[in-house]
Structure formats: structure tokens, C-alpha cells
Symmetry: C2
Subunit: 335 residues, 2 copies
DNA sequence: TTGAAAGCGCTAACAC
DNA sequence: GTGTTAGCGCTTTCAA
């Protein structure tokens, strides 16, 4: 790496002159500025980022901690965050918690040593199950801003970006009821998560509220060790009368669709299915899955905006919670 | 952030004493060491990473540039890289080129200012199509190590991690021929990429080599603007006799499978299909797609190992190319 | 056993 | 218009 010192030596001026020249200081003569810039250009000088960070006490980088990149939602969120951050001149350091509290803790601890200006994160499953938040409040107490998205915790007093999980699920369920469905099953592989609970409740509320709907709510919860396909298979065996399915996560809806087709159901005539996902995750189902779209790009973008705002006027305002609109996108699996 | 200086002041000793104490220097008395450590612990002291980087001229972070996180292969590679890097005490700064040369260039440029110790990357499509490599050699010339994986370029003299694309595709095609298939179509949406070309050639070679195979090779190339489903639909219309499909990328095989089932083909009786992917990407097809597995975790791990080795003994050895074994995994779409 | 000083690369207040 | 100096937080040589 070429340094100011080297430029200074070659030009027989002082380091500070070079520095000022590169910043177009009024103090420096046009001529000197020109000579300095020429050489800098020629040697491809770049200011050392570590030195700048040390000096300015800001790194221009954001720590991003997500539970699992192999989950399409988080991959897309990462994409959105990277895009917006890079546009705003920030780099991102990515950590994957793999749904583990310990790894989440670790990453937070590791990066809070001046590596990043702030964090954007979505809580690990284990963190949510244990309802552990000390490691996050510790960061907040160090005055390092954190923006939570999707999987958040009420007790953490930070900026947040969420969707209206409850409302979205409520609306989707209502839609199924309006279609005339009277045996609607709720499937979820995220029952333990904050968002999973909200979505479940939205479904419940819609059923309870409608007095033409007489069947009991039916919850199929899939845990990590379960064989998703087997569980869904069982669902169709146990509930032959099923005519509506709402899936709270972004895969089980697709599996249900496949299984239903395989079993000879006519979709959407016999059964309507609505999934929960930004886009048609497995883009190639036939018919295409109707979904609640979360606008993941907007979510990611909002997290970066909130964080950068917070960095620019620290402590100025109360923590904000931004709710991103969802859309019910009706494709081929609903009437 | 608490600093050495603050510890020193509170303890009425010098900064250097504190520093030494924290490093268990022999020079310092047991008693002082204890006092220092106690306070450090109590105040949760962490050495400032930027200061360390500046001093040691190493950042303990790796720049990772991938073309697209929404592609399952790259998401998994990122996962593997993050896992291994974090295990070895490195952080990763993630950049997404979005298949664009300009963004790839940019990220490289941006991070080569002392932000990272080295790079792990897979080339953007545009980079491969234009065969532009100057921006990479420029980095290499600055003595910043680069490890390329998957999408590499022969002209770049760096460490590389690849799979035997040619051989894997050759073997898979041979398998189809051995099954008795005599009308095998090659589908690809990555024809422009280094790996795409190799895979195509492997297919070609297998056909040419077998003199019981008389049909011409058939290539279906899907470009970004094409409607994948429409193209595949057309394929089945144009080539009614098709009895084997080999897909060079990780989605078109799945689409072909869906389409074939929809059209009433019996899979694998009528048509065998082999895809190219680490795992059963769309895990829920029925029957399950037979694939060439790339062991993406191994690929990612190898890139990190190569890079760290290179960082530890710079310039010591010639660039290495590590080839990760592939496996032909026969599931439900082959006999 | 402890401390002072220099230096990593940079900026900025203050001389000259 | 240019240079000197101090300081960001840390390590390390050298002196006390």
C-alpha cells in the first residue's frame, strides 16, 4: 500500500501538505495540488481505511447477523442490505448465527470492538426460544446502534423493521373463508418464533371472528427434526376434508401443494393454498403458489436507512419501529 | 469503547504496563497483572480492532465477492466460507457483484485499501463474458492474495478451487447412455460461463465417444431474458423423442422435471433427468432429482484454507488449483 | 518492575 | 503556502 509518507518523500514536501492537497485545501497552491494529485493518481494511492477508522472513530461498515443464508428470505434480505449499504458507502461484515444463541453472542462480542459502526440483525431461533436478550442490550448500552428485523423481541429497545405478521395472516385466512373454505389448516415450521406466533394468531382470529366457520382451528407444527414431507402426508390422511391451507413459512406451502397434486386433489378447486414468502420461492410450481408477499427488498433497505439515520444523530430520537406493508398475491392456488 | 489509556489512568500505571500485563509479560509483577486483568475484565475491555490492524498491518478479515446470493450454490458457498473463516478467527466482508463487472471492480478497489487481508471470489458473468481480468491482476500485483472458486479464469495466476466440471458432466452423460438413453438433451442457463462451457464439453465428449449413440447432440441454452418455462415447454414439443436430459445449472433440471411430469411423461421410465447441484435444491420434487453433487461445503472450506495458507507464507509457493471431487447422486429421476 | 517514546497512516490545529 | 505537532489505540524497544 502506498502511503502519504511515500508521496511526501517523492515530492519533497511534508505529509500534511500532501494530505491537504488531496483534500483540495485552500491553503495549498494550485501547483502543489496538481503535482500531488498526479503522483497519487499515478501510484494509485488510496487512504488506508484502518488509519481513517482509527482517526475518525467510525468504520463505515455494518455488522449483519442473520440466522441462515440458505433460507431464501434471509438471502434476499442480505441482498437488499448489501445493495443499500454499498450505495450509501458502507461495507457489510456478515455473520451467520446458524440459529444458535452462542454464535450470535460471539459475533456481536467480536465485532463490538470497533469493527463496525452498528448492527443489523434478525434473532436466532435459540435466542427467541430462550428469550435471551442480554447480549443485545449490552451492545445497545455501549452506544452501538442495533436494528432488528423480522425476528425481533419486544423487550429490546432498538430500532426495528417488521411486517404486520398478524394482520397479513388474518387477511389471508379471511380470503380463504370468503372463498367458501370451511376446513382450513395452518402449517408452520416456525411456531417457536415471534413471527410464527403472530401469524398463527392472525389465522386464529380470522376463524374465530367468522360465525359461519364452525370447524376447530387445526395447527400442524413442524419442528426441525420432523420430516416435512411425512408430516404433510399425514396431514392429508388425517384431514381428508381439508379445503384450505395457510402456510406461515416459505417452504411448507410448496410441499403441501406438491403433495396435494400428487394425491390427486384439484388445486385450487378442491383445496386453496396460501404461502408466506416474498416471491414464488420455488418459482416453478404449477399452479403457482399464492402468497403473502413480504417485500423483502423494502425490509432490507429500511434496516439500512434506519441504522444510518441512527448513526448520524445518535440518541436523538426514541427507537423507531417501521412496519413494511405486505401484499396478498393471488396466483394459481386460490380461486 | 474502553481503552488502555483509561485502564492505565484508573490504575495509576502507564499504558505500556497495562498492555504488557494483558499479554502476561514476564516483565510485569504478578500483582500488577492481576489488578490490570481484573479491571479489564470488569470494564469489559476489548482491544480496538482498527488500532490493531493499523499496527500489525493485518485485518483478520477476508473480502468475499460472489455474483448472486439468491443462487443457492453461492449462498451455500458463502455459508461454508463464513463457517470456516469464523472458525479460523477471520471475519468476512461480503460484496455481491450481481454479475456485473463494474460492481466487482468497485468492491475490489474499495476493499484493497487495507480493509481486508485477501479475497475469495467467483467471477461475475459479465467478467467472464468480456474476459476482463485486469482488475484482478491489479490486486494480485499489490500482493493481496486472491482465491478464485467455481467461475475462474485461466489467465489469472492465483489460487483456485474448482470441481472437475468437464469430467462430472462426462460421467453423468455416460450414465444416461448406459441406461440406454439415445436422445439426450443438454440444458444450460450458464452457457457463457467457464463452468458452463466445460460441462457442455463433457456432455459432448461422452456422446461422441460412444459409437452406438447416433443422434446429434442437442443444446438448449437459456439466456437471462428467456422465460425458462417456455423454453423447456418448447423443448418437449420440438424433441418429442427425448429420453434423457442433463442440466448444467441448478434450476433448469427441476423445471424440466416438473414440465415432464405435467406433460404426462413417466419419470424415469420415459425420460431420465440429471441436474447439477449440491443438494436437492428444491428439496421437494417427486421423484427426487438425480444430481451431480459439487460438495459446496468442501469448496468453501478449501477456499478459506488456501487463502489463509497464502497469507501465512506469502510468495512462498506457486499458485495452487484444488479440485474438489464431485459425486453422481442417483435419486428418483434416473433408472 | 515500570515507564517513556516511537511508530503504524492519517488529519487538523497551530506555527512559521 | 508549507511544515510541525499531537493524537486516534495499540505494541515494543529502550531506558530508568
Amino acid at each position: 500500500m502506498v502511503t502519504l509518507k511515500q508521496l511526501a518523500e517523492q515530492l519533497n514536501v511534508s505529509v500534511s501538505t500532501v494530505s491537504k492537497a488531496l483534500h483540495n485545501s485552500e491553503e495549498i497552491s494550485k501547483d502543489t495540488i496538481l503535482r500531488v494529485k498526479e503522483l497519487a493518481e499515478h501510484l494509485n494511492y488510496q487512504p488506508n481505511r484502518m488509519a481513517l477508522s482509527l482517526k475518525n472513530n467510525q468504520t463505515k461498515t455494518i455488522g449483519v447477523i442473520i440466522p441462515n443464508v440458505l433460507n431464501h428470505f434471509f438471502a434476499k434480505a442480505l441482498y437488499a442490505i448489501e445493495t443499500e449499504a454499498s450505495q450509501q458507502g458502507y461495507s457489510i461484515i456478515t455473520c451467520l448465527s446458524n440459529e444458535l444463541l452462542s454464535k450470535e453472542k460471539n459475533s456481536l462480542q467480536l465485532l463490538s470492538n470497533g469493527s463496525v459502526d452498528g448492527f443489523i440483525m434478525s434473532l436466532a431461533e435459540e435466542t427467541q426460544v430462550n428469550n435471551t436478550i442480554d447480549h443485545i442490550t449490552a451492545i445497545l448500552n455501549k452506544d452501538i446502534p442495533v436494528v432488528l428485523f423480522d425476528r425481533v423481541a419486544d423487550d429490546i429497545d432498538s430500532d426495528k423493521v417488521i411486517i404486520d405478521d398478524y394482520g397479513a395472516s388474518y387477511e389471508a385466512t379471511k380470503h380463504l373463508i370468503c372463498e367458501g373454505r370451511r376446513y382450513i389448516v395452518h402449517i408452520s415450521d416456525i411456531d417457536a418464533l415471534s413471527v410464527g406466533k403472530l401469524r398463527k394468531n392472525g389465522y386464529l382470529k380470522a376463524l374465530e371472528e367468522d360465525n359461519t366457520y364452525t370447524n376447530e382451528p387445526i395447527f400442524i407444527n413442524i419442528s426441525q427434526d420432523d420430516d416435512l414431507e411425512a408430516v404433510i402426508d399425514q396431514l392429508f390422511k388425517t384431514h381428508k376434508q381439508v379445503d384450505g391451507i395457510i402456510s406461515s413459512d416459505n417452504t411448507s406451502g410448496v410441499v403441501a401443494l406438491h403433495k396435494a397434486l400428487k394425491l390427486g386433489y384439484n388445486i385450487p378447486k378442491d383445496v386453496s393454498i396460501i404461502g408466506f414468502s416474498d416471491d414464488n420461492v420455488l418459482a416453478f410450481t404449477d399452479p403457482k403458489l399464492s402468497t403473502i408477499s413480504q417485500h423483502t427488498m423494502d425490509i432490507g433497505k429500511a434496516t439500512v436507512e434506519l441504522l444510518i439515520d441512527r448513526l448520524n444523530n445518535k440518541n436523538t430520537t426514541k427507537p423507531l419501529t417501521k412496519t413494511i406493508k405486505t401484499n396478498l398475491i393471488l396466483r394459481g392456488t386460490t380461486k
